[in-house]
């Protein structure tokens, strides 16, 4: 514990030692989010963005409360979080059980406490507790000894809140706990291969069922080429293979076109990828290029996997089996409309064009064609009103924030702070990927919010706490001895 005599100097230090980059990124995201909530629910009757009878007015209050939370975090001793992590975890589990018993059901999920007109979602705060606890746990467990006991501890710690949240009928939020795989990877609990294959299989499986095969095939090929190019700076071979792929692709496309399109386009590009791969293998036999065979094998395996999943889903599975998987993946959020929400969301984003329609000019979101436009589908408003440019900037801000958190995490002296930083980044990354992914039809429709953007107090506060506890920890990193 730090003595009170040093308190005054520490507070001065805090203003200097906090990472202002992260704080600025945070405020940019929160304010852009607020403005877009205003645009999403804007109507002529309530024009003031400060009107607290409207969602944007309320969001302003939540932001105000978030500032207060930030202040509280900043005046809290940095050791408090590590010290009380387990305690917070136990309280949260208690709340999750309590909400199952006394909570209010909203949209089929029993996930809310209602206090007067105010609603609180403990699952949002459970993420915070999980981040603190996993940081605490991993900081003193050793991945090399007592492996079984340690894994039981880790999976139990992650699994209990996830299971309770599944019991609330809020599977989407529970899936967020899967994001800790990145933390485990960073800390050496999970190997690179496991992470890579695990992520690849999940991504391919979902992508096969959700996106069109053409987009998938092209993405896989481009991805392989990028990895190939990045691995070894063999520019000559890289250009040869890329060239062969492009030329054969165009050639096959032309032949297919001339034959009045007997094949689907994704088969055409898969064929040209195969040809390019064979050439690459031949080059590889002559001059050894590290990882080339691996990349090719991965590409071919991925393509086969994609086509197999596609085939099984379309041809082997029965109608009701297909439906169950679809529902599980959120491809059909309600049994009434196959992908209606995603369809409308894509229309809204797509109609934005390059520069967007302009602030408050979005018709699709303003006239309610997009469901959940201020919460889960808030990204539609950005896509429609700010176009490709605005969407890219928002994604850029998030990427900057995530990379910044990783950078900060790596400079921590304490294991707890570093692991906690990675946990925060993982949670935000998972939310970002799923949320934006679903609005553009690349991820299943899992109802989880876009961090800092989506309307709602619980979500905003939970993410604020997550981030600012880390900023607080980072600010006092120098107080600890390495």
């Amino acid at each position: 514990m730090i003595k009170s005599a040093t308190d005054s100097t520490r507070k001065v230090n805090l203003l200097i030692s906090v990472d202002w980059t992260t704080i600025i990124l945070y405020f940019l995201l929160v304010i852009i989010g607020w403005v877009n909530i205003y645009a999403a629910v804007y109507n002529n009757e309530y024009q003031s963005i400060f009107d607290i009878s409207q969602k944007y007015g309320k969001q302003m209050l939540w932001i105000g409360a978030a500032l207060f939370i930030i202040l509280l975090i900043f005046i809290t001793d940095s050791n408090f979080f590590s010290f009380f992590a387990i305690f917070v975890y136990i309280i949260t589990i208690g709340l999750l059980i309590a909400v199952l018993l006394f909570g209010k059901e909203v949209n089929g999920a029993r996930a809310w406490f209602e206090i007067g007109s105010f609603r609180l979602q403990p699952a949002e705060f459970a993420k915070l507790a999980a981040c603190l606890t996993i940081a605490k746990l991993l900081s003193f467990l050793n991945p090399k000894t007592h492996i079984i006991r340690n894994w039981v501890l880790i999976l139990g710690m992650i699994g209990i809140p996830a299971a309770l949240i599944i019991l609330q009928n809020d599977t989407g939020t529970a899936l967020v706990y899967g994001a800790f795989v990145f933390v485990l990877f960073r800390e050496g609990w999970v190997s690179t291969k496991f992470l890579f294959f695990g992520v690849l299989v999940i991504v391919l499986f979902i992508a096969t069922l959700i996106t069109d095969p053409l987009f998938l095939v092209i993405s896989l090929i481009v991805l392989s080429l990028i990895i190939f190019g990045a691995m070894r700076r063999r520019l000559k071979e890289f250009s040869i293979v890329t060239g062969i792929f492009i030329v054969s692709g165009v050639l096959f496309y032309a032949i297919n076109y001339a034959l009045k399109k007997p094949f689907e386009l994704h088969y055409v590009f898969a064929a040209s990828a195969l040809l390019a791969s064979i050439v690459c293998v031949i080059i590889n036999i002559q001059i050894k290029i590290a990882n080339a065979i691996t990349i090719i094998a991965m590409l071919i395996a991925s393509l086969s996997f994609t086509f197999t999943v596609d085939y099984i889903f379309d041809k082997v599975l029965s109608e009701h089996q297909r439906l169950r998987i679809s529902v599980l993946l959120g491809m059909e959020t309600d049994l009434k409309g196959a992908g209606y929400n995603v369809h409308q969301s894509k229309i809204a984003i797509g109609s934005g064009g390059f520069l967007g329609k302009g602030f408050l000019k979005g018709t699709q979101t303003k006239y309610d064609f997009v469901p959940e436009q201020s919460t889960d589908f808030i990204f539609c408003t950005i896509g429609e009103e700010w176009g490709f440019l605005g969407s890219t900037i928002v994604i850029g801000l998030f990427v900057a924030l995530l990379l910044r958190i990783i950078f900060l995490a790596e400079r921590q002296r304490s294991h707890f702070s570093r692991i906690y930083g990675y946990a925060v980044a993982s949670i935000i990354f998972f939310h970002l990927t799923i949320n934006i992914g679903m609005t553009i039809g690349l991820a299943p429709v899992i109802g989880i919010p876009l961090p800092f953007f989506s309307y709602g107090g619980s979500s905003l506060w939970a993410f604020t706490m997550l981030l600012f506890i880390f900023i607080r920890l980072d600010a006092s990193r120098l107080e600890l001895l390495a």
Binding site: T192, G350, S351, T363, F369, L442
Partner: protein, 626 residues
């Protein structure tokens, strides 16, 4: 302390970057490359509402309303905007009961609409009455995807003049292809004035581009209405018809088959155009039309036939007036030419010998006109009677066609038949060239044989006599939108090349026809009527009763033709009917109610129809014998 796994930070950063790049590529595809999404967005939010201007009104010459509009509503649907799945059963029931249709009908209509397009609006049900609309409108918010569009239906407050006005109906495919103004489901004039003045009456439809939200609630105009076009209301028509006279004529012709046409001689304006039997024009309005049209079309009394324009009749004795005028003009007879009533030539009735043209008209002597026509046809200009007849016939033909006969009028009256004035070619084909002479065609002299005239031409002929040698093409419209009609066809004076003083003689004769001849029943107190009766023989049934007249003798205001099928003598039925119309038109009252009563009580319908049926049967037999 070097963390053993710190290199893994790079892998994680790369994963983050890859996801970001995939998202950005995807966004580029959705937002910049894929144009279909922008189209879908417009389909979502933009609603092209066609604004139909109310069709313009039609008034009679005195400003009486003939055609006006009533509001009805179409129910339209955009299937994609309906909630997924079906409306809950109870709501479908509520909706169908409000519409007054069965659930099956609703499903069928919806199925068709879905087949047509998921995005585009299509009509579910047409012409919902204002009463149903009132209840529907309140509940419609509960049914996203459904909305209404107002349009107007024609309505005829006086139920009269069906054939004059014609009707409107949905435009057919051929027309929509030919004229891009019309879209499937639009209405267009199909007959009568609705057809002739389609573009005047319809105006110009406009388009309003509205923005709607997901519940189909209007959210204002698109880009402040920059792309909207305003609907332009058409111009009202003021017709030449005198609705009181039209109505009175229809009343007089009840239970008779035939026609009355009256014209204002000085202008060619048609005052009435009655055909009987007729129908209530309200029967052919909107959705009623599909129900009633087949019934009317099958009716053996042929109410859809406009006899005033389309029934080709032998003119009978009224044709003698023309023969006399031609004879005088050609110089083959003179004012005081007389012929004995030689019943050996052609049958006649008993009357004093005619010693002048005037008397020949008054007594309508058949042998007299036999002789007149003989002099016209055989003028002795060739030694061969066949060649001589050709020369004479051509001279006659050249004059007779100047009376507006043998062709339809180029006017705003549609579907008029031209009738028939036989030509030289006609007889050459019929008998062979050089194998016909006066003897072959003499029945033309008394308006029988191959000559056929429609009632409109008879009335126009009466106008020619009233005008002493000219006519304006008969037409139906006086004013378009408060302005005198500018159509040059209506202002062209058609001069008949017959000297005016010859008309004077004829008019004297026609005056005597009424005062002391065959048409004494046409006399009107204080009004001098000039007329000529006809009793047209027809091979299958009783003679037709014909009368042409004009009045007053000085400065005539009305020329009229009345044709009553199978009613016998012209003087007995057609003449009194004409006089009632003339009196009503000139004085607005009837001085002899008994005359009127007699006509109203006269029921000749059954008799006419029985002849019709016989003729139809004969036609069928002769066809099957071929």
């Amino acid at each position: 302390m070097k963390n053993p796994y710190s290199d893994r930070k790079l892998s994680i950063a790369v994963i983050i970057l890859i996801i970001a790049v995939i998202f950005i590529i995807r966004l580029f595809y959705l937002q910049v490359i894929d144009k279909s999404l922008k189209l879908s967005a417009n389909n979502n939010v933009l609603r092209y509402v066609t604004i139909y201007p109310a069709r313009a009104f039609i008034f009679d010459r005195n400003g009486e309303m003939m055609v006006e509009n009533q509001a009805v509503y179409d129910l339209l649907v955009i299937p994609l905007q309906m909630p997924r799945g079906k409306y809950p059963g109870i709501d479908t029931l509520e909706l169908t009961s409000m519409l007054g249709v069965s659930v099956e009908e609703f499903r069928d209509a919806l199925g068709k609409a879905k087949k047509y397009s998921q995005y585009k609006p299509s009509v579910l049900f047409k012409q919902i009455s204002s009463m149903r609309y009132a209840t529907l409108q309140e509940k419609l918010f509960k049914y996203p995807g459904l909305f209404t569009q107002a349009r107007t239906l024609r309505t005829y407050p006086r139920k009269s003049a069906a054939h004059v006005l014609g009707y409107i109906g949905e435009v057919d495919e051929a027309k929509t292809k030919k004229n891009p103004y019309y879209k499937s489901g639009d209405y267009i004039g199909i007959s009568g004035l609705e057809l002739s003045y389609e573009e005047v009456l319809r105006g110009k439809k406009g388009v309003q581009i509205q923005m709607v939200d997901v519940h189909n609630r209007p959210k204002g105009s698109f880009q402040d209405g920059k792309y909207d076009t305003t609907a332009v209301v058409g111009h009202n028509l003021k017709t030449s018809i005198d609705l009181d006279i039209q109505e009175y004529g229809e009343k007089l012709m009840e239970n008779k088959v035939g026609s009355i046409v009256a014209i204002e001689p000085a202008t060619g304006e048609i005052l009435c155009m009655v055909t009987s039997p007729s129908y209530d024009p309200n029967l052919l309005v909107g959705s009623e039309r599909s129900k009633n049209y087949p019934v009317l079309a099958k009716d053996i009394s042929k109410p859809l036939l406009n006899r005033a324009l389309q029934a080709k009749y032998p003119p009978g004795s009224i044709f003698k007036v023309i023969q006399a005028l031609i004879g005088l003009q050609l110089g083959v007879i003179h004012e005081n030419t007389g012929f004995p009533c030689d019943k050996g030539l052609v049958n006649c009735h008993n009357h004093p010998t005619c010693t002048s043209v005037k008397q020949s008209i008054q007594h309508s002597c058949n042998p007299y006109f036999y002789k007149v026509f003989q002099r016209i046809i055989q003028q002795g200009k060739s030694r061969s009677i066949f060649t001589d007849s050709r020369i004479g016939f051509q001279a006659w033909y050249d004059l007779v066609t100047q009376f507006g006969l043998g062709k339809s009028f180029d006017s705003d009256i549609k579907y008029m038949k031209g009738g028939r004035i036989p030509t030289i070619n006609f007889y050459d084909k019929w008998y062979g060239k050089g194998r016909w002479a006066f003897q072959t065609i003499y029945s033309l002299s008394i308006g029988q044989g191959e000559v056929e005239i429609v009632p409109m031409q008879m009335a126009n002929f009466a106008a020619i006599v009233a005008n002493k040698g000219f006519y304006y093409t008969p037409h139906l419209v006086k004013e378009i939108g408060e302005e005198k009609i500018k159509d040059p066809r209506f202002y062209k004076k058609n001069i008949v090349p017959v000297n005016a003083n010859y008309f004077d003689m004829i008019i004297e004769g026609m005056s005597n026809v009424v005062s002391a001849g065959t048409a004494r029943l046409a006399q009107i107190k204080d009004i001098e009527v000039c007329g000529k009766t006809g009793t047209a023989q027809n091979p299958r049934g009783e003679d037709h009763s014909v009368f042409v007249a004009f009045a007053p003798k000085e400065n005539p205001k009305i020329a009229i033709a009345v044709y009553v099928e199978n009613a016998g003598f012209g003087g007995v039925w057609a003449a009194p009917i004409a006089s009632l119309i003339i009196e009503k038109y000139l004085t607005r009252k009837i001085s002899d109610p008994n005359k009127e009563l007699r006509i109203l009580e006269f029921n000749n319908l059954e008799k006419s129809l029985s002849f019709d049926k016989k003729r139809d049967r004969l036609n069928k037999k002769s066809q099957s014998a071929d």
